[in-house]
Amino acid sequence: MTDTVSAAQSNPDAPQPFGELGLKPDEYERIREILGRRPTSSELAMYSVMWSEHCSYKSSKVHLRQFGEKAPKTDALLVGIGENAGVVDIGDGWAVTFKVESHNHPSYVEPYQGAATGVGGIVRDIISMGARPLAVMDPLRFGPLDAPDTRRVLPGIVSGIGGYGNCLGLPNIGGEVVFDSTYLGNPLVNALCVGSMRHEDIHLASAKGVGNLVVLYGARTGGDGIGGVSVLASETFDADGPAKRPSVQVGDPFMEKLLIEATLEVLHAGLVEGIQDLGGAGISCATSELASNGDGGMHVWLDRVLLRDQTLSPEEILMSESQERMCAIVTPEKLDEFMALIKKWDVEAVVIGEVNASGRLTVDWHGEQIVDVPPRSVAHDGPVYERPYHRPSWQDALQADSPDSLPRPTDGEQLRATLLDLIGAPNLASKSWITDQYDRYVLGNTVLAQPEDAGMIRVDEITGRGVAISTDCNGRYAKLDPYNGAKLALAESYRNVSVAGAKPLAVTNCLNFGSPEDPEVMWQFSEACRGLADGCLELGVPVTGGNVSFYNQTGDTAILPTPVVGVLAVIDDVDKRTPMAWSAPGQIVYVLGDTRDEFAGSEWAHHVHGHLGGIPPVVDLQRERVLSEVMVAASISGIVAAAHDISDGGIAITLTEMAMKSGIGVKVSVPSDLDPFVFCFAESTGRAIAVVTSAHEAAFVASCAAAGLPATRLGEAGGDAVEIVGQFSASISELRLSHEATIPAIFAS
């Protein structure tokens, strides 16, 4: 029997399963206070999903506020934090929206569908701002490459991302693939989407205008993903077994493609007043957020929702996370035209509600009222926790355990062996087996894609205006020092777009952490937020939005703190981009920045010694800013032929990647003030390799000098080997052999 508002009033003490739905006793009490009675079962369902960690950000909110409070002053931000995705002005009347989200837990349970629907969800966030999606990227993290569970999840996740994204027609232009034992049992599947629109096409999620209609369109509502939000994403996996692992949503990329085209047509035809995608918490989320952001009142006839499964209860319909659905606010006069355009794309649509002036969100089920709530209390005024946090007791010991005493290669032959080993290490090995399963060409605007430093997309085919994006995070650095680790992630991402010739404009983030109920994890989280907010202020790039994923831990073992940072940058003419590799013998190779004896958290310490300890590389954001300005200016004036960021693995890895990409070798000398091992493998930040032709060498060196950026001539491109003069030489073919064998050896069978 359906639980109605009148039943809740007449039977106020009926016991309710709030605990099973993930609500704490005090949260349940607060719902009773807000309503002045017990909630109906439908209301309880709505509150439980909307007040879950995943939807309400209840543990993270107090820390995320810094991104707004410390936001640098900028004219570039058109829509800030709080909407489906932030919107940035890139000039000429173009706006770009981008965001990264996690789909970690579903992808562990069901790798293919979990990863596929992660792509689908982030793409709908972008469409619902009024933008045409341009590209996707996927930062991924797995347990050890050779672990049995990695063999289970990685191929499925990669197929899911490819299967959905390829069928949707969005190029996949970058991302990351990182292996670390802490991600075993908690793989991270983050998905980023970027889209573009004209300024006048920006749309927001609000239900305004009394009498306007609420239209649900797209796929029919089914039983998939019910409770996914509150249970799946908000509770730690119990080491003992699958107590709470209900169904993962199932994606249909074909429907999503139709949804993109249909949505963009109705938006461009001016038929939509407000729009919201349906993701986590489904109809509960869409209706309450639309009402809360709008005039505050909405009535919904829930029995009008088109169903795949006629036996679904109203509670299940409210909570269902069926994919490929959207909700639009349409005026009655434009409804027919709206419906006709949606139908053109063979998509189903139905009016499920109406905007009113009641200030309440009310829902009827076959003539009986089952929901009567203040929408803001569901969507925006959820619980806020000041979770306790403290610096872990082991942090000092971890930082004191420096890598300085680890045995180092002592001669050229050992350096050579180290390079051949590292270039094939799982984190540095070629990811082609993975990225070759993604379409990077569709839409015909991909200017740069993996393995380049940044993905770059042409936005305007006439002017060549475009955007570049990179996502980065070294979780080992963040474990050693979460505050500076977050800044280092920002610095790397900022550097990656800059060396490609694009000017950084804005930041998105996906903050992946363990359980917020563990004060030591909460400290990592608070430090990372503080570091990222401070870093963004210092670099003058605002955070436009992002996502938090907690409970990435199995038992007591949390993942490395992994604040993935995505930086969006603009380039006036993509024709001026700087590729990562030299293109002809004789081109001259410079290193920019300072190289120091910094190995804590490095790929060398990790791969060769299994060591993690010490203080991570110094982060100098002023240096990063200067490097960025020099590289962007050099790209515009055309005096730099190629450039590549120096990060994981150090200079030897950077030069090797450039040589493998171009097929032309390089011969460099170790600067006299540096130890050969430090020169080859240290991971000091604020550095890049820059390549110039002899015609532009003087101008480039002068531009570095004028900016106070150290530039050291290392040698020239040429030959068919990476040669460090006086130390060793390794042929491109043997380097490729090591680089390309690692991943296929595990999966290509």
């Binding site: 027609g169 074909f254 060409y441 200017v447």
Partner: protein
Amino acid sequence: MSARIGVVTFPGTLDDRDAARAVRIAGGEPVELWHGDDDIKGVDAVILPGGFSYGDYLRCGAISRFAPVMNSIIDGAKGGLPVLGICNGFQILVESHLLPGALMRNESRHFICRDQKLRIENADSMWTRDYFKNQEIVVPLKNGEGNYFADPATLDMLEGEGRVVARYLDVNPNGSARDIAGIRNERGNVVGLMPHPEHAVEALTGPTTEGLPFFTSVLTALVSA
């Protein structure tokens, strides 16, 4: 007046904008055609672009083959209208029986995207006459079901009549019989191709610009016809 080349959009078509761009760069005028219209607007040639029409449900191309627009295209093709099917378009041509054989799941069972070397084996079709025979080109390839199959007699017939238009070189990416990347009909107006020449028409975005002659070929053919 430049030739008008129709580019069909089915539900789930993805590379229609790319095909239209390639036509424009080649000097033609792209004309949008909609799957639900049987009117092909008097175009001089038609491109069936890549994608996942109808989500590849049932079988790649099997549903699109019955779209109203296909009736006009099939009739036109039989009368000599130049038709190029790329990837999903090739699958639709095979399902329409305008070309023989079938396209199966890649041997690796994975979708694959790579810069693929090809040899143009037949430079007489309406879509390849701006190449020379045995010219080697590199264009993107991206498919999950590009494994060309036909019985030995059909393959011998295609080879014997010079109807293999392009063949994979160095790597056979999907297990296709006899490394076949593309074929033509007897008359040479209908060509099906698994790789994507429309993604290799600009130095900025493609691995090469060696896909462009597919699009200039048909313009040349139409002028000389």
